[in-house]
Symmetry: C2
Subunit: 420 residues, 2 copies
């Protein structure tokens, strides 16, 4: 296979499909997604067989246990993939929405109207469900998509992609609306990142830090991604112990491995040492390793020392670094220095202190009295997300169907000309 030519052709076909999808009505897009969901259920045996092939290869190749777990499909996971598709089909159609209207003194009416972005590339690793989620989110938002699954999940992704194609066929939409790169050769990723001769508008990487970093460094097209999720919780002097325990434990321990999990706990020096001890003990009892400064270790047993590199580390595990800070000002300073601009939370009963925290930190998501683990498109009411972006261009925070669109201006006149 000539990979460069294959990828160029995919880009060309994706652009042609994108032109059609841009003016396809919502019913056709939703029907394609619903039919794909039904097809995933009816084809679940074939999907499981394909997944079994991937698993066998993974076991031979000694894939790490966490990656293997992400790869494995079963009836329940397949049902959840299909349910996710139906949720996306039911979302309001973002395309064609009039975002704003301005009536000018000369009688011109200027509508700002939501339009698809065009062609989206999604590069992911071992999770086969991304094939379905990403394909459907892009279709719902009127975009063509080129999916590049990892070699570990190649057979599973192909089987799921077949169901998406069945959905497109049933709705009479171009099969090249959702394309899967037909090779596991890594050169295909390099080709994709060139922008396919103008036929790729944005790239969304889904996977580990190595993958995201490579794509951010090499891509010639914009990237929606987050490299790290170094999220902070700051417990202010005016926080109740009860709420601090609740928010901190959930932020760290609900699922320690997700990007919205807290990695660093900042505690106001004005909070009582008894409260500090109680909070940290709760973390320890929940199975969390606590790495803390000397002054905290003197107050609470069982803490490990913390080093400077901890403040810049995303553990993705049941570990938390803890630091005492002189009030909200030092908390903000620490966070602006070390955060990855993902999600930060403050626990306080003082609304003014909270407002300062929310105003002065430059992260995608800022929380007051809520768990950082709410950093999720579904929790934000977006229905589903293709990822979370920490960049400031175009998309920021959860990337749902709305973030996969842009807009244009449509000016309605009656013969107006511009004076000199």
């Amino acid at each position: 296979m000539n990979i460069a030519q294959t990828m160029q052709d995919m880009g060309h076909n994706a652009r042609a499909s994108a032109r059609i999808l841009a003016t396809t009505d919502d019913l056709a897009k939703s029907n394609a997604i619903r039919f794909a969901a039904a097809s995933i259920i009816s084809q679940s045996d074939q999907i499981l067989v394909a997944n079994q092939r991937d698993q066998e290869k993974a076991e031979k190749g000694n894939l790490p246990a966490a990656m293997l777990d992400r790869l494995i499909l079963n009836e329940e996971r397949i049902e959840s993939i299909a349910a996710g598709l139906n949720t996306i089909a039911d979302l309001p159609n973002p395309v064609g929405e009039i975002i704003s209207t301005s009536n000018r003194p000369n009688g011109l009416r200027i509508d700002r109207v939501r339009t698809p972005l065009g062609v989206i590339g999604v590069i992911y690793e071992s999770r086969p469900n991304v094939t379905a989620d990403a394909g459907a989110l892009c279709l719902k938002s009127g975009n063509a998509v080129i999916l590049r699954g990892g070699s570990d999940s190649y057979h599973s992704a192909t089987a799921i992609h077949d169901c998406l194609l069945a959905g497109l066929r049933a709705a009479n939409l171009p099969p090249t609306s959702i394309q899967l790169v037909p090779t596991t050769d890594r050169a295909a990723v390099g080709e994709l990142l060139t922008g396919l001769n103008g036929n790729l508008d944005v790239v969304v990487p889904r996977g580990g830090k190595g993958l995201v970093a490579r794509i951010q460094n090499e891509s010639r097209v914009p990237v929606f991604a987050h490299l790290d999720g170094i999220c902070h919780v700051y417990v202010d002097r005016e926080a109740s112990l009860e709420m601090a325990v609740q928010v901190v434990l959930n932020s760290k321990m609900r699922r320690p491995g997700i990007c919205g999990a807290a990695e660093t706990l900042l505690i106001d020096t004005a909070w009582s040492p008894q409260h500090v001890r109680a909070l940290i003990q709760k973390l320890q009892h929940a199975g969390c390793e606590v790495r803390a400064e000397q002054s905290i270790r003197e107050n609470v047993e069982g803490c490990l020392p913390v080093s400077d590199s901890d403040w810049a580390t995303e553990y993705l595990d049941a570990i938390i670094s803890v630091k005492l800070v002189e009030g909200v000002a030092e908390a903000i300073e620490h966070i602006n220095q070390y955060s990855s601009q993902h999600t930060e939370s403050i626990v306080t009963a003082n609304d003014k202190t909270a407002a300062r925290f929310l105003n002065e930190i430059d992260s995608a998501i800022l929380m007051h009295n809520a768990s950082t683990q709410f950093a999720d498109g579904g929790e934000f009411g977006m229905g589903a997300e293709i990822g979370i972006a920490t960049g400031k261009m175009h998309a920021r925070g959860p990337v749902g169907v709305e973030q996969l669109t842009c807009f244009n201006y449509r000016v309605h006149g009656s013969g107006q000309i511009r004076p000199n």
Copy 2:
């Protein structure tokens, strides 16, 4: 001068200023801009002396007449620069605006709040007024800016920059909020385009195609720009002759050299040949060179032949290419093939035909019965623009203060935690 180090320092200082500007209240920003405007008036003698030095250098260097005209300042132009600043000062503050709010079933309130982008680089050529406009637009939107003026207007830009600095001082804002690159060495542009070690968020080029192309090719940070303005007017079978003449003449001839000027006229074959002749003669009488297909040349005297390359040419002059098309479908096809995604207009009395044109063309601005020369931030009610973007990421169409912002999510809770 160590240019790399100088630019790195500018980036570092810009980021520090950006942090302050992000939470600076509107009054201080507006006062700085108003004071700068006053300073430009009171310092106009010094500005004119500096401009004289630039002009002398330009004449020695045989700068083309059009570039020289852009460079020249006089009392009237200086007053217009100051007036432009006051207009920007009076704009509503975009920062802190709540773009949308969603109340979740669990009681969380999620506000999407407008925030500055951060640090903006503006690279321009001979127009000294860009120093003032770009500096003020970035400041108003809460961003720090690094200005890189052309070597032709270096002394003028420096004199105007001094007035901006006086404004910042008067409002007690950091002088590094608006920095001017203190060298005309082109290596400074290369350094800027590296992104200054993460301290530059976006680049806005203002100038000719060569400058814009270089920046789009080399930049490691996002670029808001348009490379070409190949704008089309389509005259539909249901267009009145009167409105067609009005819109086409203004679109081409009001100012043939701006990016929103029409370059190609598409005429429905079903329009009457008498109308075609009358419309083209009006263009010719207005001094426009008409390049047309054989069938049109047989109908109208004085037209020159048109070649395939004309469809892809931005004349920026009193020249127009003309083609007959089989209705709106062929017009859309031609435009999607040749347009630069800037601005296109349809003249028709049929709203359904217009709707199809506006829906199916993927350009930043689409007009119905209006001149393409309305493609301008001021005409759109944005007050002022830093440029026009034809990309689809983040900003599209006129780039005003709102387009120089992004947003974050601010989540207000009462101790909510996420269930498993």
